[in-house]
Subunit: 230 residues, 4 copies
């Protein structure tokens, strides 16, 4: 733990890069959506979208390398404490997750209270599930749209399929039929399960916390320890 | 925490308004059900139901404004501690949740023991799931009933669909086919997952508590710490 | 808690009644199964089964009343500490749950170690889920067998349906189509969710406990606090 | 607990047998896969695979007996502390689980940090789910492939079915129709639920741990206790 002291140069870089990187991630997400969804329009738009995606990814890579250098650590040790950054580099669609960090940074700079522990886990994991689901819907739509015997025919179907998959409801009215569609589906199920498990687990813990605090707010002569009477 | 001292005026208002507001919420729920389910009968009943809903919502709004004023705080800070009241104002169908608070208040006034922590979470979250499910069944029934190719044809189908959705079983024998039906379904899945996760999580914690207490009830010479022997 | 001292007379009754009541519960379960499954054979067997069920239920009622009297408490207070007994009286199919208590009693009498806390929760909740599922399969099979358009046609189908329902997988290849079948299904889903949630939650806690203990078993110079290195 | 002192002879055996046993388990898994999947090729390969499976199982049995002897305990007490070894003997497909132990042993020998508690539970339970799923896919494929009316026709279908079953999504586009296929499915559902419950539970706990640590890393003048502000 003693190796985790705040490096001043690294901190300054992170503070300055925060907002530009956030806008870059929005551009990346929009470009990816355009590339997949605009299959009916002029081909040039899709090429522009691809170019934007590569450009933004180079921005993310540059940021990662700069931070690795500024930290003065070796890659192996840097990854141990910055696993989220590396994950975001590999799956840039998760980039907007940093939105939450941005909010936390801004609130702290203004000396305002940040969200509670459970609320932050819920927001992080929930936002992660939304972004994962959006990317999954795009990818599955791209794969299944033209497959013979497919049931996922519109992007709306793909979004509906993602929602019933991530919540593990799984009606089966629309399902992927191609091999690649199913591989994406399995990845989505596993990540979705973990993320939504974190969301519901934290919600449950938070609800119990709220009720416990309500108990503590009562005047002492009226208070009983939680669970004393059942 | 020091800002949360009981304001006397606010407390008095809350105690007096408790029962009337509870009856108002029952009227609201009944009016909404009449509005959706009574599509075969005279149109005038549905208009009366709509009028009742608006009236009851005005009652809830008045109560919210009065309490905001009595608290002497600004909206931003008031919302932080009274998030449940604001939620109930937006989704008045959740209003009967206050039934549990009413029970707690009554029990405490009579100096009788209240439910344990986990039991209250289970009752709150479970009742929330029931009300959410009822409202969802009404809304989906209203949307799907006349859609071409729909499988949700009766209100019984809608209730059955809500049950298999909230528990994430999802047989898929009845599913929404319209865009609005699916949007309602997604909202239902997400809220239902969180609420039922809280219910099962609390049930599990409560069961472990019961077993731990059983261990502690044994005579000391016979007692072993939990988990000491496996 | 001070009211819960062991009453000697009650204790003696419970120790003596344990084994006979356990056999009675097995007879009850068998009689119920015979009543539902033996629809092809002579009618007289089903009548005998019904008679056995009533007789066994009277035995359970007698035991409950005797224990209520021996405890010297009023019904209200007795229920608070003996909720499991009352539940078992209403749903006698859950009776074999006492098997675990029997095992605990026997192990303790022989001065042998009992199962750990989580193991007992898993066994209790898991056994409860099995019994609930068995009873649910019988009831749904009875309701659906002769319904028009039914997909649950054999008892094997009913058991398969119960398994996919309790685990919330819900393929939808066999589903109840009658109103009563669906009502039983909803009851099964809710109870099953809670019980299996308790099983998986306890399994998870137990696994973490096992791993924590493994950490503690290491020689001290080699030990690191759990989680210190990620 | 005092009976669990490290036996030197047993320790030495375990250290020496670790790597050979790991390779043996890989051979076993490969042989089982060959036996099931190679139904189109020459019969002799499947006989060789069966022979390899029996041979490897004898290796596992020998290891178990040697360790039982070296421990100097009776079978009953040995099982209590080595339950994982006994389970692995009965279900040799779970053998590669020891891979994690191997990693832990190697890391500790090199004085490098091991994975945190939650990470190890996730890896163990996740790897167990993968192996269980692989074995289940093989077994169900073997059973269903030639059944009339089957929907699981290729090994790819079987793997897809296992994924949607273990995550409890259950679309129902492919389902087992034979009695044996359904029995394997039920076993898979129950074990899968428990293992994936452990994975998502640990992931959730680990995420909360990560966020808590992030709170603690802030400079003290800026730090607020988690949850203080909601």
């Amino acid at each position: 733990m003693d190796a985790e002291r705040a490096d001043t140069a690294l901190d300054r870089w992170e503070q300055r890069a925060e907002l530009p990187l956030f806008y870059a991630s929005l551009v990346f997400l929009a470009a990816y959506s355009v590339r997949i969804l605009a299959h009916g329009v002029d081909r040039v738009w899709r090429e522009i979208a691809l170019a934007m995606m590569l450009l933004m990814w180079l921005v993310f890579l540059t940021d990662f390398v700069v931070r690795l250098r500024l930290s003065g650590r070796r890659l192996h040790r840097f990854l141990r404490t910055h696993w989220l950054d590396a994950l975001v580099l590999l799956l840039p669609l998760l980039r907007p997750l940093r939105l939450v960090k941005l909010y936390t940074t801004l609130q702290r700079r203004r000396d305002q209270p940040v969200l509670s522990l459970y609320a932050r886990v819920i927001v992080y994991a929930g936002l992660g599930a939304v972004l994962l689901g959006w990317a999954g819907a795009l990818a599955v739509y791209h794969t299944e749209r033209t497959a013979p015997g497919a049931t996922i025919l519109t992007f709306g179907d793909a979004v509906w399929w993602v929602c019933e998959t991530l919540t593990t409801v799984g009606y089966g009215d629309v399902t992927p039929v191609t091999a690649w569609g199913r591989i994406i589906a399995v990845g989505l199920m596993i990540c979705g399960l973990a993320l939504l498990g974190a969301v519901t687990g934290s919600f449950s813990s938070w609800l119990i916390q709220v009720f416990t605090r309500e108990d503590e707010r009562r005047p002492p002569e009226d208070r009983r320890p939680p669970g004393a009477s059942s």
